[in-house]
């Protein structure tokens, strides 16, 4: 599988073959030849996605012990367990590209790889749990559905599995908010406050504006990104506005209005300085998220060691038994 420089003519043929497969909407599978840039970009993209799922367990996990009813607690537990599952499907996909998931975890806790900035904002009230389901998972779905057609087979298959489960996440969030909106004035204010805090960070989830996203073109040519950041962001805004109306909340953007000519909503400018600050690690919770992830990893070492020791002991006993029999 290693392709060396001196195989010049073969390399050109392999590359042409790869390009043809991708252009024809074919799928690239793990042991196919692929350009090094494609492999590296995919590893970065999928690992960042996996890390986001794993770090994403924290803001919501924060509320499991304080969920207001057994019903909400069971739902939240199931959702956080799903996030862990999504992370593992994705780590599984990265391993088909020749990396080890243990290494990726080390890179995450050493800040050598990133995760979605949205999880660096705190969850201040239980309404945040509803808003995360509705707005944050809603944005994730808009981002992820097109990735079910990624040119890389294992990634596309993991995304199909994930998208099937995300719908539950979004609907439980919306239902939670509907319940609060049908409650007291204080509960309605709590929902509006959460929407005010999460709306703009949700829009930032789609990444920099197209003009500032230099890798988009190559990723789209490789079919590992199917739409530009701004296209997806627009789709999300147009989708969310009627949902906000149904819920009875105001999206915190005075410039948000329907544009007849474009047949889409206009919306205000995103605070890209804030976005860059959070990406660079200065968000409200960056340090806390990484410290928690590191603690979970390091404090879990004895469990992994114990399981390894137990497996070794069982194997030794089995082979002793086989010899004495």
């Amino acid at each position: 599988m290693t392709v060396t420089e001196d195989q010049g003519p073969d390399l050109a043929a392999l590359e042409a073959d790869f390009d043809r497969t991708v252009a024809a909407e074919g799928r690239v599978e793990p042991r196919d030849w692929m350009p090094e840039g494609y492999r590296k970009t995919l590893i970065r993209q999928i690992a960042q996605h996996a890390h986001s799922e794993i770090i994403g367990m924290q803001p919501e996990g924060n509320w499991i012990l304080r969920a207001p009813s057994l019903r909400r607690k069971a739902i939240l537990l199931a959702k956080v367990q799903d996030e862990a599952g999504h992370g593992l499907y994705l780590y599984s996909a990265t391993e088909t590209l020749g990396v080890d998931r243990g290494e990726l975890t080390e890179k995450l806790i050493d800040s050598k790889q990133k995760y979605s900035s949205i999880f660096n904002y705190p969850t201040l009230t239980f309404a945040d749990i509803g808003v995360i389901g509705w707005l944050v998972d809603g944005a994730a779905i808009v981002n992820q559905v097109p990735l079910c057609r990624s040119s890389y087979g294992p990634y596309a298959r993991a995304m199909v599995r994930i998208c099937k489960e995300e719908s539950f996440h979004q609907r439980q969030g919306f239902e939670l908010l509907q319940t609060l909106m049908a409650g007291t004035d204080a509960q309605r204010e709590m929902v509006q406050d959460a929407v005010d805090r999460w709306w703009w960070p949700s829009l930032m989830m789609f990444g920099p504006a197209d003009g500032d996203s230099p890798n988009t073109q190559q990723s789209m040519a490789w079919r590992i990104k199917r739409h530009t950041n701004d296209e997806l962001r627009q789709r999300y805004v147009d989708m969310t506005v009627p949902q906000a109306e149904a819920l009875g909340v105001t999206l915190p953007d005075p410039e948000l209005r329907w544009n007849d000519e474009r047949e889409a909503h206009d919306f205000g400018d995103i605070d890209w300085d804030e976005f860059m600050q959070v990406v660079k690690g200065a968000g409200p919770c960056n340090a806390q998220r990484l410290a928690s992830r590191r603690a979970a990893h390091e404090n879990g070492q004895w469990v992994r060691d114990a399981a390894t020791a137990y497996a070794a002991k069982q194997a030794a006993r089995a082979s002793e038994g086989a010899m004495s029999a």
Partner: protein, 114 residues
Amino acid sequence: MSMADDTTAHVEGEPRFDGTPKAVWPLYEVFVRGKRGLNHVHVGSLHAPDDTMALHNARNLYTRRNEGVSIWVVRGDAITASSPDEKDPFFAPAGDKVYRHPTFYEIPDNVPHL
């Protein structure tokens, strides 16, 4: 199939990128039978210290919503795969034998049930 190469990702006990040797759990490929009457289908992979834990982890990871009635876990290094390239000439012998397909044979329209 896409599995055998997965085992090239790491070697048990091999020093990791930071130089410290760590016990690495072997990779297992997971196959799930969606319901009785269907084949087991490859769904993904996981790491586990032994076969039993692999099965339990696969249950928790791949069948949280009744996606299966039976699970196989197979150590990745136990799988023999056809070749590194799925477009390999290994499959070429079948390529030119069109007469193995029913559509190769022309039968008049007025002959029923054929």
